[in-house]
Amino acid sequence: MQNHAGAELSLKEENIKKAGKLLIDPDNVFWALLFDQGRNEAARKKILSLYNKRRKELDASMRDFRFTTEFNSVYINPTDICNANCPYCYIPPSKRRSGKSLDNRKLLYILRKLDKFFAPYRKIRKTKPMIIYHASEPLLMKGMIFSSIEKFHKKFHFGIQTNAILLEKKDVEFLKSHKVSVGISLDSLDPKINDLTRKAKGTTNYSRAIQAIKWFNGYHGLNVITTVTKHNVKGLAGLVRFLHSNKVSCVLLNPVRATRKAVIKLRPGTAELTKYFIEAVNAAIEVSKRSKRRIIIGNFSNIVLGISAPKARRLMCDISPCGGGRCFFAVTPDGSMIPCGEFVGLKEFCGGNIFKTSVKKAVFSKGFKKVRSRVVEDIPECDVCIYRNVCGSPCPAELYSLSKDVKGVSPYCEFYKKIIEYAFALIAQGKTKYLFRKDALSDIKFEYSLNI
């Protein structure tokens, strides 16, 4: 890595396998790929001139994206109880066994309060904010949450994240007809491997998740979450192919976060994770090329967006400050407002109780501010990394759980570097169109483009 010769001290250079020479301003993520080993001086000049022209605007845009606080979603955990017992789960096992639940009255109170909190957002954005029913297992409170969706569907978009164990055919119809966004967890196509990490007493999520996927039958609002561990890492590409053939359009392949020491041993090795993740990306491209339907690996497409359209990111884990306490927060069954669901059980981050204090007070609480002030510039190693505003060094909750400090280098650092480089390789090969939604491509517009 070296500074670009001449006046452009902020532009760094890096040779990337199968991509060419990358010029990048890590602060605003201006980038250009030079082919022919970057020997073409005329091409280089054109890039520098484009960079000089755009630099100020890009700086301002990145500043705005990173440092404004604008909430658009709230995660509500209707219960701490779960009907499964996944060994990696970031909800502490003791909470899941003897936890609290919301009742109908309390849930309605929360939704009314959030409705008021979001009034200015609705006016500015002219869209509904999002409520997502999340951890532990929301379907244990099916009646309550479905009736809240019926009551509030004009005020909010709704989402639900579930292990699908309790999902029935009529529920699928309900969720589809109310345009609810649904996430289903499935770790492997092999039931034995799936059961290693998605344990449930007397039952399994395996057959239920597959049944549910078939019932949803290509529903636009469905995505699957696969939590990647050393057990299932080799099967990611096969899983992607299977999901595509079952009309799933989006899957997230999330490397397991060790929010407890015992989970560290479930992490896949970096080399293995990189190899099989990239194999899965290639499988997604290959099946999407061959058929009319696409399947997107959400967390990889998000990286590609981080490079080519930073503000269009959907997931807010790979930018610093992350989205926790800035774009969304979570409410637990005892009323605690926390910056993100992954901070559950970490009292020092609690912004107050929604039954006692205002949401605004939580937004300006010490805990929320601590997450909002976590920037890559303050993390040794990330501060000089050229990918710092594509990666963001996730995740503060994971790092804090293990070291009592949010400001650390991500345990998946090397993995991120490799997949960001792979994203540049796909950009160089013109394959990114398979990573975006088809409808959007028909009238895609550019802030700037140079293709010489």
Binding site: L34, A42, I132, N223, I427, A428, F436, L441, F446
Partner: protein, 44 residues
Amino acid sequence: MKKGRGAATLKKKKKGQAIAYRIKCKRTANGLSHYVPSDKKALV
């Protein structure tokens, strides 16, 4: 930019020398590990 020409910009030219672009987009951020589907015109 005319309709249709957009996607072509994503592709490297044969014997191309360099590529650089930024796609115009609205701010869409919305989540942690849950992927909330977007309207049809959004990129993903």
